[in-house]
């Protein structure tokens, strides 16, 4: 499982890095933003209101966003742990942090619950600003670590600020796993309600589970797998790290439509 996921993650990361390098060499005008599904959500507004696209948005963004919705309904937020290059980089940095500290460092549960809702505030702010102050333009790009990092910190008027955001997120991911995805990513906020309905989800077999709790410790999102019959948590990205480390074969199984 982990090998397959790592291959998929590496392919998408390599693709985005290739676009970044080709852009730096002047071989393409595409950027990582060309393939960002979040821009599709922003594009829908201008498409509905002005019957056209603003900024650099186009049909591909909308198509990718619709595909993302379908993917989330089928496989929960697997986009985050299988596709998103920023999620991949954060995950790998988080694992490095885990090796150093011996375990994932997590905020206290009460604090975590509050922080988990921050991304909804970010989503409302980003959409609100895009549709008012930024007049449909992708103003969020200047603050988006995905765009900042995978454009090689290029194309921003305030370079020091971009470096601060990009490096800041990566350093923070060393101490708090998946910090951007868990607490701040507006695309993650969009996917949350659909993710709850995801057809492909993990089910715990209480008859085989020994309640060892290893799965809880392995989850980069801090989900309590060991006490759930079925993992319906909005933050579950189907990374399957819990199933990977589970010592009891069959105790954690992926189910599709409950089967």
């Amino acid at each position: 499982m982990r090998v397959l996921r790592t291959i998929v993650q590496t392919l998408f990361l390599a693709g985005v890095v290739a676009v970044m390098i080709r852009g730096a060499m002047g071989l393409t005008t595409s950027t990582c933003g060309t393939y960002c599904p979040f821009a599709g959500l922003v594009a829908l507004y201008s498409l509905l209101r002005y019957k056209t696209y603003t900024c650099a948005m186009n049909e591909l963004h909308v198509a990718l966003f619709v595909s993302l919705v379908a993917l989330t309904l089928i496989t929960k937020k697997s986009f985050c742990s299988w596709v998103c290059p920023l999620g991949t980089v954060q995950e790998w940095i988080g694992k490095a942090g885990r090796k150093v500290f011996g375990r994932y460092v997590r905020p206290p549960i009460a604090v975590d619950r509050i922080l988990l809702n921050l991304k909804y505030v970010v989503l409302v702010l980003v959409l609100g600003l895009t549709w008012t102050v930024w007049q449909g333009h992708l103003g969020f790009r200047a603050y988006d670590p995905f765009y900042i990092i995978f454009t090689g910190f290029q194309g921003h008027e305030t370079l020091w600020f971009s470096i601060f955001i990009g490096i800041g997120v990566l350093v923070a991911a060393f101490f708090v796993p998946m910090v951007w995805c868990r607490y701040l990513c507006p695309l993650s906020a969009v996917m949350d309600p659909m993710s709850r309905a995801g057809f492909l989800r993990l089910r715990r077999n209480p008859g085989l589970c020994t309640d060892c709790g290893i799965c809880d410790e392995a989850c980069p999102h801090g989900i309590r797998v060991a006490t759930a019959d079925e993992v319906t948590a909005r933050n579950c990205t189907n990374c399957l790290e819990c199933a990977e480390v589970c010592p009891e074969k069959g105790a954690l199984e992926l189910t599709l439509f409950g089967k």
Binding site: A56, E59, L71, T75
Partner: protein
């Protein structure tokens, strides 16, 4: 745990669907009419233009060809870097229009080239 392959399969399938359906419909990024009354005879030329990457650049492109007498309208599609220009063939031609948008412009005191037609 064989069901795990559903995830990469779904990712691949949906990305393919996204790219395949993108070409099925086109929404113009910018549409501009330069004349109040269209001439009796109108010809059209399609350019693929390096640098035509957003709505702002489309407006810049429009500015550069607006001075060419006989240009009737402009429609741009930034996903494919396409510009479709309608013109009065009695007054101008595709080469003259291309020369107009390829510049150069003066940017910060120096000559700069924003657009280049792909041959």
């Amino acid at each position: 745990m064989k069901k795990v392959v559903i995830i990469p399969a779904a990712v691949l399938l949906l990305i393919l669907v996204a790219f395949a359906t993108t070409g099925a419909y086109r929404v113009p990024t910018l549409e501009i009419e330069f004349v109040k009354e269209r001439p009796a005879v109108v010809a059209s030329v399609e350019y693929t233009v390096d640098g035509l990457t957003c709505r702002g650049k489309s407006r810049g492109f429009a500015g550069m060809i607006s001075g060419v007498e006989g240009v009737v309208s402009l429609t741009t599609y930034v996903r494919t870097n396409t510009a479709i220009v309608e013109y009065d063939p009695a007054l101008t031609n595709p080469v003259e229009i291309e020369t107009a948008f390829e510049g150069p412009i003066i940017h910060e005191g120096e000559e700069d080239f924003l657009f280049k037609a792909k041959k």
